[in-house]
Symmetry: C2
Subunit: 94 residues, 2 copies
DNA sequence: TCAGTATTTCGACAACAATAGAACAACAAA
DNA sequence: TTTGTTGTTCTATTGTTGTCGAAATACTGA
């Protein structure tokens, strides 16, 4: 991976983290120490479900979260490898 | 500082870091291990000087850099405290 | 198969961000 | 005082982002 590509990836990750609602989602997931459904996380934020889905897609697309389907629900969890690689120490600072 | 305010600050810093040109500026400053003038840093990027100035203002406004005037020039340096507080380990990952 | 629940996609819109060029301000050195 | 250098501000333009509601999709369970 060239430096250019690394910077592009880094910039994407920072962009994804530059929204307060997405930061809140990450904190909720981190503090809960378990998988949570989209609905569960969304209920703690005062935004519409389509907006929640939009943010989840953003987090997923830069590998900050993992998704696992079970029945109608989708379970979310943090992708700790990505945090470790690009943001060492960040989660603990939350 | 409330969690709300902390998140706002964090989001601002991440937004500032979510631009490839600003990431390059930070890397240039970090690798050089010294103060550099705006022009010096700007010369390494293929953007206009007004855009460079715009980015410098952005970095300054979230305390990621310090500025020191000397004659016509302004010297830039990284504000290591801010990096340490919000992005421990980030600079070394560059 | 049908009704119900969970999530995503679409279409629209307002707000914001990155960019360049021109004009401007601050200072230095002839 | 004039000229040159360095950096900032202004104006305009173009592209991107976050948001919602409505419609669509995916799946479950009766």
């Amino acid at each position: 991976m060239t430096i250019e590509q690394e910077d592009q990836k880094r910039a994407e990750i920072f962009k994804t983290l530059s929204d307060e609602n997405r930061l809140k989602m990450i904190r909720i997931l981190y503090k809960s120490q378990r998988e949570m459904t989209c609905g569960e996380v969304g209920n703690e934020l005062s935004i519409s479900k389509s907006t929640v889905s939009y943010h989840f897609k953003a987090l997923r697309s830069v590998q900050l979260t993992n998704t696992r389907r079970e029945a109608q629900s989708k379970f979310l969890s943090l992708n700790l490898e990505t945090f470790a690689k690009y943001l060492p120490g960040f989660l603990d600072s939350l």
